[in-house]
């Protein structure tokens, strides 16, 4: 366990990767959005912005990067794959939780200040407003984790099976998606599917995302166990 903490500290030796860049993206996305709102004349309607997602997409890249850059090095540092995995994903979980809490707080401020005084909506999750605070925070957290794990898993697949593995994975995903869509169309399931999506609650979406994260997490670990530096 001690060594897993050391892995996390190793990931933090360069402060930018896990802390600096996310902070910069969060600050810049807010500043830019705010500037745009100031410049564009106000109308009465609420103005939505997706800029808060920017950092979430960075986490996809971070997932790729934290594996590709540091896994071979961690092997030279005599760290087991398991310890590397625990230390790295554990560190990310802490970062993601912090950002989720921050977003929740910012969402509350946003509501209290009437959309930063400009009737904007950047952090507040309108569709989940009725859910308890914990669910709102968890939802953000799980989405970030899902993107990170996606990046991490793809990087692991690449590390283990190189370009061939990547190609096979993309083909499988494409075949599965097309196959399911064809099946749904052929069986006339679309209305039911639409109804199913409409019936989802913030909690159930969180649950599905958690399941997705768990599958990717286990998949990444199993793939990493046999990866070579």
């Amino acid at each position: 366990m001690n060594r897993a903490v050391s892995v996390a500290r190793m990931q933090l030796i360069n402060k930018w990767t896990f802390l600096g860049i996310p902070a910069l993206i969060i600050a810049a996305s807010f500043a830019l959005t705010y500037a745009i709102w100031l410049m564009v004349p106000n109308n009465v309607e609420t103005r939505y912005s997706g800029a808060s997602q920017a950092v979430v997409w960075y986490f996809l890249a971070l997932g790729i990067q934290s594996l590709t850059y540091t896994f071979p090095f961690s092997q030279a540092m005599s760290v087991s794959r398991r310890t590397f995995y625990i230390g790295t994903t554990g560190l990310f979980a802490v970062v993601a939780l912090a950002v989720s809490l921050l977003y929740f707080v910012l969402g509350r401020i946003e509501v209290a200040t009437n959309g930063w005084g400009l009737n904007g909506q950047l952090y507040f999750l309108g569709w989940a407003a009725d859910s308890p605070a914990a669910v709102q925070i968890m939802f953000n957290f799980l989405v970030m984790l899902a993107l990170y794990m996606t990046g991490f898993w793809f990087a692991t697949v690449y590390k283990r099976w190189r370009a061939t593995g990547m190609l096979v994975v993309w083909i499988l995903i494409a075949v599965a998606l097309v196959g399911l869509m064809a099946l749904a169309g052929w069986q006339g399931w679309w209305p039911q599917i639409g109804a199913w999506f409409a019936a989802q609650t913030p909690l159930s979406v969180s649950g599905w995302t958690a399941l997705f994260c768990a599958v990717l997490g286990v998949g990444s670990y199993l793939t990493l166990r046999r990866a070579t530096p």
């Binding site: 060594r3 050391s6 500290r9 190793m10 030796i13 360069n14 930018w16 990767t17 850059y69 540091t70 071979p72 090095f73 092997q75 030279a76 540092m77 005599s78 760290v79 087991s80 794959r81 398991r82 310890t83 166990r225 070579t228 530096p229």
Partner: protein, 316 residues
């Protein structure tokens, strides 16, 4: 040094590593007691790096029994934390500087000596703040050498650590290795093909060829275990009759034969009487002679054709 109650540092039993249809390591059985500087010698592609990757669980074996410090090293932090293996083409986080790589090593190697690392960095004139991806090949090698030395791991591997290092820098490495090893005895496995340079540093030699260990002996036993006899053809043939021959060369009526045999005072006197010259065979020459009969390149070669030492007489 180990007391008899401790397990040997390394114990391999019939270990094989297969890549598709090639055996990079082929049924190696080996025991390393430790507390010495070992030389892991062999041609490129002979299986040196693969063997070290197996021992450090960076690339585990296909079959066989591997024990390091009495346990299997794979996913075993207790065992791994006692070793250090910096690869010849070691990758570092792209945005790291050497100083950051050392800071990281300090987190994982409990015997890490930062002062020693700093002194070495100064001797190698390594720019500590420059990004690793901007370093020259030699400077990159220096980073690996410094981590390997300053980590003072109980079991340290150096895999061709000198790529891009000039003669002066290599000498610094050898000097510091001997010096630090004297003060902090441990098990060091040095893989190299600059054999002449490292020969005197080694206490024990492991020669690997086509994935098999073909020589496993103390360096001092090997010294003088072969000799080259030069002189008149018939007299050389007469003198070397019945001795294992590693190599034969002819120049006019002059023949030069390398034999794998220890020559005593009596043999030398007899050779002198016959007017034959006896020259020592260096470790490097011996390795060349012993591995030359094998087809070039190691990898991609059917290991079943790997040569038994006794078949080496038919050298090209």
């Amino acid at each position: 040094m180990n007391t008899p109650t401790q397990p040997p540092v390394i114990e391999l039993n019939n270990v094989t590593k297969r890549y598709k249809d090639t055996k990079a390591v082929d049924g190696v059985t080996l025991r390393i007691d430790g507390g010495r500087i070992y030389g892991l010698l062999g041609r490129n592609g002979a299986g040196k790096t693969t063997l070290m990757s197996i021992l450090t669980a960076q690339d585990p074996e296909t079959s066989g029994d591997v024990k390091v410090f009495g346990q299997h090293p794979y996913e075993n932090d207790a065992v791994l934390s006692r070793m250090c293996f910096i690869r010849e083409s070691q990758k570092y986080p792209e945005d790291f500087s050497p100083a950051q790589a050392f800071k990281s090593a300090a987190l994982f190697f409990r015997n890490w000596d930062q002062d020693f690392a700093d002194r070495l960095a100064e001797e190698f004139a390594l720019p500590l703040k420059r990004r690793i991806k901007k370093l020259s090949r030699g400077q990159l090698s220096a980073v690996g050498v410094i981590i390997g030395l300053a980590a003072r791991a109980e079991l340290t591997f150096f895999d061709e650590p000198y790529l891009g290092l000039d003669a002066v820098a290599r000498q610094i490495f050898y000097d510091r290795l001997v010096e630090d090893y004297s003060l902090h005895p441990r098990t060091i496995i040095l893989s190299s093909h600059l054999i002449d340079e490292v020969a005197n540093l080694l206490e024990h030699v492991l020669l690997i060829d086509n994935g098999r260990i073909i020589l496993d002996d103390d360096a001092e036993n090997i010294r003088g275990s072969a000799a080259t006899v030069t002189g008149e053809d018939s007299k050389v043939t007469d003198f070397t009759a019945g001795l294992p021959i590693l190599h034969r060369e002819r120049l006019g009526s002059l023949t030069s034969v390398t034999i794998e045999a220890r020559l005593g005072t009596a043999d030398r006197a007899r050779a002198a009487e016959l007017g034959l010259e006896i020259a020592p065979v260096s470790l490097q020459q011996l390795v060349v002679r012993k591995t030359m009969a094998a087809p070039a390149g190691g990898a991609g070669v059917d290991p079943r054709t790997a040569t038994d030492p006794s078949e080496l007489e038919v050298a090209p």
